[in-house]
């Protein structure tokens, strides 16, 4: 694993790096493609709403010796939907199935009676309303809207408006993809799914903010130097936090993957599937979008800023006239580090600066990140 440590070190020094910003069009394209697929899936297949949202039918049997798990099987065979089966205190069973009308429920009642080996008359069928009523949904939307406004304001203050916009775009991207894939897979939407989506919402922003925090730090004294453009620094900041992003994603995804593939796959736990699928897709999308979508988007927006444009001009001009200095640029493309108080006054050091190594050490190393050819 010391290779990994080395990888971290080399990323840290900028010896190796991936040009995220340079290839941004590719990633935007991929995202747009996935998003379109998701939207199409949503439009064509729609979401399969569970009983909590759309109501359904409830069947109450007489006192019976049929077990809950048997009844689940019967109900699923009869209706093709997942059924919620509960045993009541008096030994009767309550079987709830989503999305039924009277005609269907009568049909299923007869099927159930055959399975239970009883007379259909002993089973009562009634329609039930949603327990997740419109009010809960409306309040949830309201809460989300308020939260979005607040978070944009907060990010605009803590960082800047461009980052706020980029974070919001990444967030919408994550949610759309998750919902779309959910529609494509065709799982029933339960309250658990919604909770999963909300968790993603928090996580997606959280992850983006961690990446932005490092970006903000690296670009603090940007205009006081003329060695790198904003995009190049942004790119290096992504590479600098790459190890952290990978580790965090692995740590967050492993348990959820466990729930989804082991819990859902082998043990056949139904509800776990709903929740863990939305979590799995959402967490993956959240980690991906902070790196491939949000940060390049900030760079895109930034590069339109006159100050940053001017900087880019200066940087390119300097590079054109002094190939000798380019060597320096190469060696010092690492360690984008703000130094402590002892050298805060040194504006250049805040952004770059070769670290205790003669320039010669850097010769023959790979190109610096974001280097334009």
């Amino acid at each position: 694993m010391s290779k990994l440590g080395n990888l971290g070190a080399r990323l840290h020094r900028g010896e190796i790096s991936y040009d995220f910003i340079g290839h941004r069009k590719l990633w935007y394209g991929i995202s747009i493609l996935i998003t379109i697929t998701a939207i199409v899936g949503l439009a064509v297949r729609g979401l399969n709403m569970g009983i909590d949202f759309q109501g359904g039918a409830v069947f109450t049997t007489e006192k019976t010796s049929v077990t809950v798990s048997q009844a689940e099987e019967f109900a699923k065979d009869a209706s093709g939907h997942d059924a919620v089966v509960q045993k009541l205190g008096n030994g009767t069973l309550r079987i709830q199935i989503a999305g039924m009308d009277i005609k269907q429920s009568n049909q299923i009642k007869d099927d159930l009676a055959t399975d239970f080996k009883t007379d259909p008359e002993t089973i009562t069928a009634e329609l039930v309303g949603p327990s997740w009523g419109d009010q809960i949904a409306n309040k949830a939307w309201q809460g989300l809207a308020i939260f979005m406004v607040l978070v944009v304001i907060y990010l605009a203050i803590a960082f800047e408006w461009r980052m706020a916009i980029a974070a919001l775009v990444a967030l919408i991207h994550d949610i759309t993809i998750t919902v779309g894939i959910y529609a494509l897979v065709g799982f029933e939407v339960t309250p658990g799914t919604v909770i999963g989506l909300l968790t993603i919402l928090g996580y997606s922003l959280y992850d983006t903010v961690v990446v932005f925090d490092s970006l903000k730090e690296q670009t603090k004294d940007l205009t006081k130097q003329t060695r790198f453009t904003y995009s190049e620094i942004a790119n290096r900041s992504i590479n600098g936090t790459l190890v952290r992003s990978i580790n965090t994603t692995v740590v967050a995804l492993l348990p959820v993957a466990g729930l989804l593939f082991i819990g859902g796959g082998f043990l056949g736990a139904g509800t776990l599937n709903d929740i863990s699928l939305s979590l799995f897709v959402g967490l993956a999308a959240g980690a991906y979008s902070s790196i491939f979508i949000a940060t390049p988007l900030v760079a895109d927006l930034k590069e339109r800023d006159p100050q940053i444009k001017a900087l880019r001009k200066r940087v390119l001009a300097k590079r054109a006239q002094g190939p000798a200095e380019e060597a320096f640029a190469r060696t010092s493309a690492g360690a984008g580090h703000t130094e402590g108080p002892e050298d805060d006054d040194d504006a250049e050091a805040a952004v770059v600066g070769p670290r205790h190594q003669p320039a010669a050490r850097g010769r023959g190393r790979g190109r610096p990140s974001g280097k334009r050819r």
Binding site: G8, R10, R13, G55, V58, S69, V84, Q86, L88, G89, R94, V128, G129, S131, W132, G133, Q135, K139, G143, I146, F147, L150, Y154, P191, G192, V194, I195, L198, G202, Y206, V209, D213, G240, V243, R244, N247, T248, V251, A252, L254, P255, V256, G258, L259, I262, G263, L267, G268, A269, T271, L272, S276, L279, E325, H337, E339, E348, G353, R355, H356
Partner: protein, 593 residues
């Protein structure tokens, strides 16, 4: 648990032992509290543990039609009543055309819940025209009645303060007054302090005379009502429960109420103010006087105006016609009298409420009255909606996932993984204990989605120290020795952690305040885990890092410590001798022209 002040605490830097001790004491204390309270497992929601199912049937004997809109409104209101804090995971849904099913998780006070959902909570303020003691002492407490009048035995002593202040401004009924079963507050002028005059007034109000002199106040043509009033026997429970049935707010009516364990019958005028004009209600404890638990109401603008009007009119009347009856579901909860107009849009109901009763009543008044009245059809236990196998499968899968996390962390961070795992353990322990304690405290119940959310929260907790570890390693790559690296890395890692956790907490706070039901329960869990994340990183992970930085194994960068400068690919420092614990070799800036 009083979270110590966060921020730049010097002690955390210099005395790592102290904050470690602090958090360990907190864990031990909380765990001890958990065992002492006897609630050693978090309460589980219906999906995992089952609970009680109540079926309510709408009564069709009233003017209002049983239609879809009314049923849905009733569902919403009941939902808010049983889910007061939004974390109890109760479910409310319609069934058929006129039934509502309420599912309450195990371990909830189902008796209380039954009262809360079944009570219509129609509240009216009606002027008292006449009142008369029925005479026989009360034996059964009325709370046993199906109407579920949440006021078990309020000795009507409502006080209304006109200052817009809370209970503090209402003068306290003196002992003599309460023994009379009747305390009165002057409408307070904004500039005068509560005086003892109230009690002298109360003294003058002799216990309600049995001679009803109110007959005259009822307009002629209400002979039928007079007859009904004369015939009313409030000592019979069946009579009490039906006395106010089918009455329109605009009509005069009769009702029963209890003062000091004696039932009185009332002849009441048309409703002057309506419960819908109560903006919000709160249960408060009267710290000033002896009134105990009270319910303070704030009226809407219009309601406040009406209230001022009616009290102004009543104040000019003689006893008992200077009283107004606060009528809840056909029963007089209390009947205070007024001596001058009460402006300011506030009123209190006080009686011999217990805390639970006061909160229940406040809760009902806040969420409004049900558009229909319901009667209980059946109460039965239900088993878990998800089989127990689901939870087991989930826990097993989660455990496997966590084992993989452990393997990954050890492979990547080696020695540091010890700190990571210890932090995760502390975080998990705190989460578990708090959830177990919150069950009895605020009715918190854990459902399957929340379990999954907690598992994701572990990832977010882990992220905090991954951010920190990576910072430390970056510092080591700069050629610093471990101790300065640990201290220098902290402020920046701390900022990242706080900024990103703030976003999560913002989400939790907004959703908790705005939403209802399950979403609110989720927001609570998210907020809790976010706060715990910060607490654990600040008071456990960081101090532990400071401590281990002093150990040779780590400070010398042992191959397995996860902090080996060589394997991290550190730049060789300019000074070739490494002095453990010595001052860091300051980086030399090579300046460019």
């Amino acid at each position: 648990m009083a979270a110590p002040k966060k921020g730049r605490s010097a002690s955390a830097q210099s005395k790592p032992g102290r904050s470690l001790a602090l958090i360990l004491i907190a864990i031990v204390g909380l765990t001890a509290g958990m065992f002492a309270s006897g609630h050693t497992t978090p309460r589980l929601g219906i999906d995992l543990a089952g609970g009680t199912s109540i079926t309510l049937k709408a009564k069709s004997d009233q003017g209002s039609a049983i239609n879809k809109a009314n049923m849905n409104t009733a569902v919403d209101i009941m939902n808010r009543r049983v889910n007061g804090l939004g974390v109890s995971e109760a479910e409310v849904q319609t069934q058929g055309n006129d039934n509502i099913i309420v599912n309450i998780p195990k371990g909830t006070n189902s008796e209380k819940a039954r009262q809360q959902v079944g009570t219509t909570a129609k509240l009216y303020f009606r002027p008292v025209l006449a009142q008369e003691a029925t005479g026989s002492a009360v034996t059964a407490s009325p709370s046993a009645s199906a109407s579920g009048s949440s006021s078990a035995s309020p000795s009507p002593s409502a006080s209304a303060s006109g200052t817009g202040e809370k209970a503090t401004s209402s003068s306290s009924p003196s002992a003599s007054a309460t023994s009379q079963g009747r305390a009165v507050t002057d409408a307070l002028k904004a500039d005068s302090t509560p005086s003892a005059s109230a009690s002298t007034k109360a003294g003058s109000s002799a216990s309600p005379s049995a001679s009803a002199s109110g007959g005259a106040a009822v307009s002629e043509g209400d002979a039928a009502l007079q007859a009904k009033y004369a015939a009313l026997d409030c000592s019979k429970e069946s009579v009490r429960n039906t006395a106010g049935d089918g009455v329109k707010p605009g009509d005069a009516t009769v009702a029963c109420g209890e003062i000091d364990k004696v039932w009185y019958k009332y002849l009441l005028g048309p409703a002057a103010v309506d419960g819908t004009e109560v903006d919000k209600a709160q249960a408060v404890f009267d710290t000033q006087g002896a009134a105990g638990w009270q319910v303070t109401m704030t009226f809407t603008k219009q309601g406040g105006k009406k209230f001022a009007d009616i009290t102004g009119k009543l104040a000019q009347n003689q006893q008992p016609q200077n009283e107004f009856g606060i009528v809840l579901d056909g029963n007089v909860v209390s009947s205070p009298y007024v001596s001058s107009s009460i402006t300011g849009g506030q009123a209190q109901i006080s009686g011999s409420f217990t805390q639970t009763e006061a909160q229940g009543l406040a809760n009902m008044l806040s969420y409004g009255a049900l558009p229909l009245s319901f009667e209980e059809q059946s109460v039965t236990t239900v088993t878990a909606a998800l089989g127990g196998d689901q939870l087991h499968a989930g826990l097993l899968a989660g455990a496997i996932g966590l084992a993989l996390v452990v393997i990954y962390l050890v492979a990547y961070y080696r020695g540091l993984a010890l700190i990571a795992l210890a932090s995760l353990l502390v975080s998990a322990a705190l989460t578990y204990v708090l959830m177990a304690l919150l069950g009895p405290a605020i009715g918190f119940a854990l459902n399957l989605p929340a379990v999954c959310g907690a598992i994701v929260a572990i990832g977010i907790t882990a992220d905090s120290f991954i951010v920190y570890f990576e910072r430390v390693r970056d510092e080591i790559r700069e050629g610093r020795t471990l101790r300065p690296a640990v201290e220098r890395a902290w402020p920046r890692a701390r900022r990242t952690i706080l900024v990103s956790d703030f976003v999560s907490f913002l989400a939790a706070a907004v959703l908790f305040v705005v939403t209802v039901g399950k979403v609110q329960g989720f927001a609570f869990t998210l907020g809790l885990t976010t706060v715990l994340d910060v607490v654990v990183v600040f008071f456990f992970t960081k101090p532990l890092m400071t401590l281990i930085a002093r150990r040779k194994f780590f400070a010398n960068g042992h191959k397995w410590s996860g902090l080996d400068p060589k394997s991290l690919g550190a730049q060789p420092p300019l000074r070739r001798t490494r002095r453990p614990g010595g001052p860091a070799a300051g980086p030399v800036e090579t300046k460019e022209a």
